[in-house]
C-alpha cells in the first residue's frame, strides 16, 4: 500500500477524535515547550559557569610553575619573553586566540591606617586583561594605566573593611623568593565592584612591573590564554606543553574542578529532565493510542479482509502516533522558542545572589537556546512516539481479520 495513502488515512483518523487528540496534542505541546524552555535555562547556567571559570583569570589554558597551586608564592614562577604570543606557535592562528595575559599573583597582607587583611596581590598588564573579569570591572576612581602603574585597585568589600578610599595610601607586605618579607606603600587609584562579592575581598591589583620591582625579580607566576572557542583547546595544550616543558599547562577544567564537574553534570541533567517530562506524557500517549486501536478493531479487521497487509496496519498506527507527535513537537518548539525570546537577554535572579555567585553564576541568568538541544528533544520525542505506538500496533497486527470483525 502506498505510503501516501496511509499518511492520508492516519491524518483523517486523527480528526475522527478531535477532542481527545486535541488534548493529547496540547499535552505534548506543553511538555515539549516546557522541556525546551527548561533546557535553555539549564544551558544558560552551564555556559555562564564555564564562562565565569574562564573569566576568573584562568583563561582556557593556563601555564603555572609546578607546585604553585599548593604553595602560591613567587618561588614557584617562570620567565616569559615580553614579545611572546600564542599565535606564533605552529598550528595556532590569531583567530583562534581571544587574548593572553601574564601575571604575578602572590599572597600578601594589606594594611591601612586602621585595619589589616590577607589578600591576593595580582600584578597585571591592564591592556591584556580584556580576557578576564578584571577587564570588565566597574571601577570608581581610576583604573590602572599600564603594567608599570604604581598604584593599586582594591575591591569595594575590602575597601570598606580596611576603611580606605580612592587616593589614600595602603601598605602591602609580601614575601620574596628568598623568603624575606618586602613591604611598600601604594596609593589607591580606584575601587572596583564585582558581581561576585567574595572576589572584592580577595583580589588587589597593581601593575605587573610594580610587583616585580617589589619582589626584585622579572618572573611571572601565571600565563593565561583565552581562546575564541573551547574546541581549540587541545591543539593549544599540545603546543604549549612542548614550548613550556617543565611547567604545568592546565585547562580551566583542571584549575576549577567544581565548575567543570557542574558543567559536565548539566549535560546529564538535560536528559533527565527530558525523560521525566516525556515519561509522564507517555502514559497519556500510550493510553490514547491503545484506545484508538482497540475501538477500531472491527475496522482494522475489515481492512485486513479486503487485503491490507499486516505490515501496513502496523505502519498506519505508527504513522498516526508520529503525526500527532510531530504536530505536538512543532507546536511545542514554536511555543518554547516564543517563550524564550522575551527572556533571551537574561532573567534577574538577584534573590539568590550569594548562592549563585558561589556556583560561579551572576545575578542575571542568560538562557541559551542551542539548536542541538532542540534537535535532541525533537529526535528523542519522535523515538518516544515510535516506542509508545509499538504495543498497540503489534496487538493490532496479530489479530486475524475474521476474529477482529466478529468483535
Amino acid at each position: 500500500m502506498k505510503l501516501r495513502l496511509l499518511v492520508q488515512l492516519g491524518w483523517r483518523n486523527l480528526w475522527r477524535h478531535k477532542r481527545r487528540n486535541g488534548i493529547l496534542l496540547g499535552g505534548i505541546t506543553f511538555a515539549i515547550a516546557a522541556v525546551v524552555l527548561a533546557n535553555s535555562f539549564i544551558r544558560g547556567m552551564q555556559v555562564q559557569m564555564a564562562d565565569n571559570a574562564v573569566d576568573l583569570m584562568n583563561g582556557h589554558v593556563k601555564i603555572l610553575a609546578p607546585g604553585y597551586l599548593d604553595d602560591p608564592s613567587i618561588a614557584q614562577s617562570f620567565e616569559v619573553a615580553h614579545d611572546w604570543r600564542p599565535d606564533a606557535l605552529e598550528g595556532i592562528t590569531s583567530d583562534m586566540v581571544a587574548g593572553w595575559a601574564s601575571r604575578v599573583r602572590v599572597p600578601a597582607v594589606i594594611m591601612s591606617e586602621r585595619e589589616t587583611r590577607g589578600i591576593q596581590l595580582v600584578g597585571i598588564d591592564p591592556a591584556s586583561e580584556n580576557i578576564s573579569f578584571v577587564g570588565k570591572l566597574a571601577i570608581q576612581g581610576e583604573g590602572l594605566a599600564d603594567a608599570a602603574d604604581r598604584r593599586v585597585i582594591v575591591g569595594a568589600g575590602l575597601a570598606e573593611r580596611i576603611e580606605t578610599q580612592v587616593g589614600r595610601r595602603i601598605v602591602l607586605i609580601t614575601q620574596g623568593a628568598d623568603g624575606r618579607n618586602r613591604e611598600a606603600g601604594y596609593r589607591v587609584a580606584g575601587i572596583y565592584r564585582s558581581d561576585t562579592s567574595s572576589l572584592e575581598k580577595i583580589f588587589v591589583f597593581t601593575g605587573r612591573d610594580t610587583v616585580q620591582d617589589l619582589l626584585e625579580t622579572n618572573v611571572v607566576t601565571e600565563l593565561s590564554v583565552r581562546l575564541t572557542e573551547e574546541r581549540f583547546s587541545p591543539p593549544l595544550l599540545q603546543r604549549l606543553a612542548n614550548v613550556f616543558a617543565g611547567l604545568d599547562v592546565m585547562t580551566w577544567q583542571q584549575l576549577d574542578p567544581t565548575a567543570a564537574a557542574m558543567t559536565a553534570i548539566i549535560d546529564v541533567v538535560i536528559l533527565v529532565y527530558f525523560f521525566i517530562m516525556m515519561g509522564a506524557l507517555s502514559f497519556g500517549l500510550v493510553n490514547s493510542l491503545v484506545t484508538a486501536v482497540m475501538e477500531r478493531t472491527r475496522e482494522m479487521g475489515m481492512m485486513r479482509a479486503i487485503g491490507m497487509r499486516p505490515r501496513s496496519v502496523l505502519l498506519q498506527v505508527v504513522l498516526e502516533s508520529t503525526l500527532i507527535m510531530g504536530a505536538g513537537i512543532a507546536g511545542g518548539v514554536v511555543i518554547g522558542v516564543l517563550a524564550y525570546l522575551p527572556i533571551a537577554d537574561g532573567v534577574d535572579l538577584a534573590a539568590f545572589n550569594e548562592a549563585l555567585s558561589t556556583f560561579g553564576l551572576s545575578n542575571v541568568l542568560v538562557p541559551q537556546l542551542f539548536a542541538q538541544d532542540v534537535i535532541l528533544v525533537v529526535v528523542l520525542s519522535l523515538i518516544l512516539g515510535f516506542v509508545a505506538s509499538a504495543s498497540p500496533a503489534v496487538r493490532c497486527m496479530k489479530m486475524g481479520p475474521l476474529e477482529a470483525m466478529r468483535r
Partner: protein, 431 residues
C-alpha cells in the same frame, strides 16, 4: 426538555443509599477498561514518585548540609554585637560575657555555648621571616563545640590550654611551620594598638575549605583576650541547639532573654550567618517546585485525555441513565467519583513506590560520587559522602492534594457535556 430527576424530597436514607451506589458504580466503571485505568493512575503515581523521591533526596542532602555546615564552626545561632555581622571589627564585641553565657546556657533548648574572640592577624614563624595573613580565633577548649576545633591531622592535637595554637594545614605549609614550632601573631587590638602573641603550634587541621585551611588559626581564648585586649567580652558567642531548622525560633527566644540585659547584642540564626547555605536551600526548593509544577500540568493533560475518552465512549450509556431518570448532577458526580478513585489509586501507587525507593536507597545512602567528581564542592557546601534520603511527607501530602484536585478538574472538563446530552440522541449514538 423536561428533566426526570430523582425526587428532590427524597429522604436522607435514600440520598445516602444513592450516594453509596454512586461510589460503588464509579469504582466498577473504572474496571471496565482496566488497562486505561492502570495507565492513568500510573501517570499520576509516576509524577508523585518523581517529585517525592527527588525531594526526599534533596531534603536528606540539605539536612546533612545544615548539620555538617553549622557544626563545623558557625553553630546554630550566634550572639554578636549588632554591627558585627555587616562589619566585623575588633572593637564590635558583646560585653558582660560571663553573665551572658550563663543566661544562654539556662535556656532549655541550648545544648552548648561557646564564646569566641575573632580578629585578623599576621601569622609568622618563630623568626618572623615568613608571614601570612589569617583569621585568628580564640576559643575556650572546655566549651568549644566546633568540629573544626577538635579534628587534628595525625601528629598533632587541638588547642587544650593557653599558649597553644592550632591552624590550617595550608597556612602551616605556607609559613613553613609544623607542630612543635613557635609562631608569632601580630594584629590590631580593640583600642587600635598592636596586639602580639606567641604560641606553640600543637596541631593542624584540614577542612577541605580553602579559606579555612589557608588562613585560620585557633588559639586559647585567654591568650586572645590578653593580646587583643578583651575584658569579659567576646566577638561571638556561638550556640548549638537540637535541630538547626529551629534556629530562627531559638534566636528570637534568646534575643528576648538577653537583649533587655544588654542592648548591644543581637542574636543571629545560622540563616543570617551563612546566607549562602540558606539561599541554596531556598533555591533548590524553588527549583523543585517549578519541576513539580511542570509535571502536574503534564499529568493533568494525560488525565483529561483519559476522561475525554471515558465520557465520549459512554455517550449512549449516559443517555440511558438520563432516560431512566438519573439527574445530570448525579451522573456528573459519578464521573467525578471515578476520577477520585483513580487519583486515590495513583496516589497509593506513587506514595508506596516513593516509600520503597526512599527506604531502599536509605539503607546504604546514595553516594555523591555517583553524580561525578564533586570533592571540591562537597567540602565547600558541607556535603556528606552519601546522601541519606528522608521521606518528604510534606511534599507527598502536597503532591497528593495537587493530584487529587488536578484529576477532579480533568474529569470535570469533559463531564460538563452530560448536561447538554439529549437522551434520545445519545441513545442512538453508536455503542
Amino acid at each position: 426538555m423536561s428533566e426526570l430527576t430523582l425526587p428532590s424530597v427524597a429522604s436522607t436514607p435514600v440520598r445516602r443509599a444513592v450516594g453509596r451506589a454512586l461510589i460503588t458504580m464509579a469504582w466498577r466503571n473504572l474496571w471496565r477498561v482496566p488497562r486505561r485505568t492502570w495507565l492513568t493512575a500510573g501517570g499520576v503515581g509516576f509524577a508523585i514518585l518523581l517529585v517525592v523521591f527527588s525531594r526526599s533526596i534533596q531534603i536528606g542532602a540539605l539536612d546533612s548540609m545544615l548539620e555538617v555546615g553549622t557544626a563545623q564552626l558557625t553553630g546554630h545561632a550566634q550572639v554578636q554585637h549588632p554591627d558585627y555581622l555587616d562589619d566585623p571589627r575588633m572593637r564590635s564585641t558583646v560585653a558582660g560575657l560571663a553573665a551572658l553565657t550563663g543566661t544562654l546556657a539556662g535556656h532549655p533548648d541550648v545544648q552548648a555555648v561557646a564564646p569566641r574572640g575573632m580578629g585578623f592577624g599576621l601569622v609568622s614563624d618563630g623568626s618572623g621571616e615568613r608571614s601570612f595573613g589569617g583569621q585568628i580565633t580564640g576559643i575556650d577548649p572546655a566549651v568549644e563545640f566546633a568540629t573544626l576545633a577538635s579534628q587534628a591531622l595525625p601528629g598533632g592535637r587541638p588547642v587544650e590550654r593557653a599558649g597553644e595554637g592550632f591552624m590550617g594545614s595550608k597556612l602551616a605549609r605556607n609559613i613553613g611551620v609544623a607542630p612543635g614550632d613557635d609562631i608569632i601573631v601580630l594584629g590590631t587590638g580593640t583600642e587600635g594598638g598592636v596586639a602580639a602573641m606567641a604560641v606553640t603550634l600543637v596541631g593542624l587541621f584540614e577542612s577541605g575549605i580553602p579559606d579555612l585551611d589557608r588562613g585560620f588559626l585557633m588559639v586559647h581564648f585567654d591568650d586572645f583576650a590578653e593580646a587583643f585586649g578583651l575584658e569579659d567580652e567576646a566577638h561571638v558567642i556561638a550556640v548549638l541547639t537540637g535541630d538547626p531548622r529551629d534556629a530562627r525560633a531559638l534566636a528570637a527566644d534568646l534575643a528576648a532573654m538577653i537583649v533587655p540585659l544588654d542592648g548591644n547584642a543581637a542574636v543571629r540564626p545560622w540563616q543570617e550567618l551563612m546566607p549562602i547555605l540558606e539561599q541554596s536551600v531556598v533555591g533548590e526548593i524553588g527549583g523543585s517546585a517549578l519541576f513539580a509544577g511542570f509535571l502536574v500540568v503534564i499529568v493533568t493533560f494525560v488525565v483529561v485525555s483519559t476522561f475525554v475518552m471515558t465520557v465520549f465512549e459512554r455517550t449512549a450509556e449516559f443517555g440511558m441513565l438520563k432516560a431512566i431518570g438519573m439527574a445530570p448532577a448525579a451522573i456528573f458526580r459519578m464521573v467525578q467519583l471515578e476520577g477520585f478513585w483513580m487519583s486515590l489509586m495513583g496516589v497509593a501507587l506513587g506514595v508506596v513506590a516513593s516509600l520503597v525507593f526512599v527506604y531502599v536507597s536509605a539503607i546504604e545512602g546514595i553516594p555523591f560520587s555517583a553524580f561525578g567528581d564533586f570533592d571540591d564542592m562537597m567540602d565547600r557546601f558541607f556535603l556528606p559522602d552519601v546522601m541519606m534520603p528522608r521521606f518528604d511527607s510534606a511534599g507527598a501530602l502536597l503532591m497528593t492534594a495537587m493530584m487529587v484536585v488536578a484529576v477532579q478538574v480533568a474529569a470535570a472538563i469533559p463531564a460538563r457535556r452530560i448536561w447538554r446530552l439529549n437522551p434520545v440522541e445519545a441513545l442512538r449514538a453508536e455503542e
